[in-house]
Subunit: 210 residues, 2 copies
DNA sequence: TCGAACTGACTGTCCGGTCAGTCAAAAAAA
DNA sequence: TTTTTTTGACTGACCGGACAGTCAGTTCGA
């Protein structure tokens, strides 16, 4: 098939996923976002599962690009950009985060999903680790800061922020603010530590906002 | 119906949920964990959704008891007990956490689920806040520690640990260790802050060792 | 004997997947 | 060039399985 058709179907999958959620997603829903019929999608993809996996791969490529070179002058800004990008309420994708959580929840039952999600997790952790290491190297962050520990910590925190937002409506802004406080208070070498309950960490999100 | 029958069905719901997961759960699966037939369950509950909601309520009662009076001499120990109880790999419930995540992921589509999950969230946050406040009051924790912020922070982190464990297999032990480190380094008044910052706590290594 | 508890058989619906066939454009033959 | 064949893309109609929920009827204890 032409790449145009492929992206059309992948795009339709995204829209349908946001509209109906993963659990309620049907092939017809996807076809409805297309000028093709249901059978045509089966013609291009071996089945629903195949299509979803292709969609996750497609998503990962975008995610990879997005976290590849964090914008910002200082490591602190880049770190903030990296994390906050996943913990910000983008009006274009309220339902997307929810659908992604549904997929995460299916991951234990589906090896293909699981390996894809692991790629997201590893990529994000690696990106954070990289930026933190830069910060430690150039003196932005305390020298005792362990990039591995911080990266894993933030990844877990981001996961929590996303889950808690989707599940109980805990504001993403609150979680983002807590990360900001964490960066300032726990990592930055030039900031006075003010303790307090500030730093809450979380991590999580795989897919990003799209 | 007798409360015995009720608990039998609720128990069966739990077992079936762990065995099959939420997405694949059928009324027949639940009935199979019972000495009743499918129709009998429909006789006692208005439907699948009703039963699941009753199950969540049942679950909440147990949860409430569990976090009601955290065990431990010091606030630090009680806080640890509170958090680690939710971030420990209990052999009896590997699949249970996954099923719970599936339910969380459905929460945005289901008001009854959502309100129940919010009760869990609020109860846990309140329990943490309480213990932290005790710790601040008796000098175990720094006086600058904000119980509200710490409670929200830890709740989010716990969510992240659970999600990341289920979704990509990130070890719960690692997350638990990070929380231990957080308590020691960011909250406890008698611990030396590892960073150069100031007199107040430092959370440089909040992420822990993992 | 009355009614609550329970059951087996059944129904309606939904959905993933299949299939025979259409159609247009490319390739091959004339 | 014109005609024929092939092929890839696509479609409407259909199939079969799964599952929530129903219902007429049975069982059994009070």
């Amino acid at each position: 098939m032409t790449t145009e058709t492929a992206t059309q179907i992948l795009h339709a999958t995204h829209s349908a996923l946001c509209k109906h959620g993963y659990a309620e997603l049907t092939m017809q829903d996807i076809a409805d976002e297309t000028d093709l019929c249901k059978a045509s999608i089966h013609y291009h993809y071996d089945g629903k599962h195949d299509l979803l996996v292709a969609y996750l791969d497609h998503l990962y490529e975008q995610f990879e690009d997005r976290i590849a070179e964090p914008a910002g002058e200082t490591p602190a800004e880049r770190l903030r950009g990296l994390v906050v990008a996943l913990v910000t309420d983008r009006s274009d994708a309220p339902a997307f985060q929810t659908a992604l959580l549904e997929i995460k929840a299916q991951s234990p039952y589906d090896d293909a999903f699981r390996s894809r999600l692991q790629r997201f997790d590893h990529a994000f952790t690696a990106a954070v680790r990289e930026v933190v290491a830069e910060g430690v190297a150039d003196g932005t962050f305390h020298e005792e800061v362990d990039p591995d520990a911080v990266a894993s910590f933030l990844t877990t925190y981001v996961n929590g922020a996303q889950t808690r937002h989707a599940a109980v409506g805990h504001p993403l802004d609150d979680s983002a603010a807590a990360v900001d406080a964490y960066i300032d208070e726990a990592l930055r070498a030039d900031q006075a530590a003010s303790t307090g309950g500030g730093p809450s960490s979380e991590t999580a999100n795989v897919g990003g906002t799209e």
